[in-house]
Amino acid sequence: MKRIRVGLFVAAAALLSLSTPSRAQPLESLTVILSPGAVNFALTSGSGTNAGNAAIAATTSWTLLITRNNLSLYAYFSSAPSALVHVTPANTVDIPSTRVEVSVNGGARVPFDQTAPFGAPSAARQVFSQPINLFNLIGNRTDTLALNINLSGYALPADTYTGTLRLRARATP
């Protein structure tokens, strides 16, 4: 009987949401916001440690249906060989995504060398993946992304290099 009562509650809640004037709005929502929206690096040639001047806080908020069982956040670049692109026209050298590393919530630094649902092949990193169940269909979480550019063993001409890190969340299935 307890199972039925819980199910009835969920069904009633869904029915209420459908009967309100906002019925045209989607039942689900999934958003990501970043703070700050820009990170600067003061590079030292040949150094493995070139930390960004600020860690990015990625806040993921979701309202999901009961059919979802997983939520993931991905960070990625649109190109693996050119995550950050040179500015000087005569320069042909870029910073590949494998040289850009991220430490999520203080964990070990890992490069953007994964192939994810978004972005270019071998240019991404899964930031988190968590199961979704009845008790966390609605929620939010904030993850810190500390970026680093690893230039150890990588010859890079003096220049300014710019790029865009992209993030996107996905609920499955």
Partner: protein
């Protein structure tokens, strides 16, 4: 009474209320962060020994300094640079090493100080280079810079000698400062 399972109920509710099919993934919109990385130009020179001593023999062409110096040049240059060069020089050509005794007026000119770079032929500090006094320098190396060599490092050994052949020098202690400096051009 037969109990209705919770999952069956949820599936039924999903069908009734129009839940999307299981294969319809839900993606957030894309958010972005701008990344800017600046690698400035740098050019440094270090010397493995900061002093060299000479035991002079009057009239001798061979008065080698000890120890041999090693100049390490390290650079990160913009791709607009086409060459890097290293120069050794004194501030004055006429008095590279200056007498110590008050009554002595004779100095050792830079043209009497020689350097062998990486075991090459000894050459006098008699060039006018980008730094130092006129005719008081010596280009120690020059090399082309391309994109693959826009950053790098190299070591060059500098074996010094004071050539006193045909040069009359009073007994005294002579001191001076050899200066080393690198330049990326243009």
């Amino acid at each position: 009474m037969k109990q209705v399972s919770f999952r069956s109920f949820l599936v039924l509710a999903a069908l009734l209320f129009g839940v999307p099919p299981a294969d319809a993934q839900l993606n957030s919109t894309e958010v972005t962060a701008s990344l800017t990385a600046v690698l400035p130009e740098s050019l440094t020179v270090t010397l493995s020994a900061g002093a060299a001593s000479f035991s002079l023999t009057s009239g001798s062409a061979t008065n080698a300094g000890t120890p041999t110096l090693t100049a390490t040049t390290t650079w990160t240059l913009a791709v607009t640079r086409t060459a890097i060069s290293l120069h050794g020089y004194f501030t004055t050509a006429t008095a590279a090493l200056v007498h110590t005794a008050a009554g002595n007026t004779v100095d050792i000119p830079s043209s009497r100080v020689e350097v062998s770079v990486n075991g090459g032929a000894a050459a006098a500090f008699d060039q006018t280079v980008a730094f130092g006094g006129a005719a008081a320098g010596r280009q120690l190396f020059t090399q082309a810079i391309t994109i693959p060599t826009s950053s790098g490092t190299r070591n060059d050994t500098l074996a010094l000698n004071i050539n006193l052949a045909g040069y009359t020098l009073p007994a005294d202690t002579y001191t001076g400062t050899l200066r080393i400096r690198a330049q990326g051009t243009p």
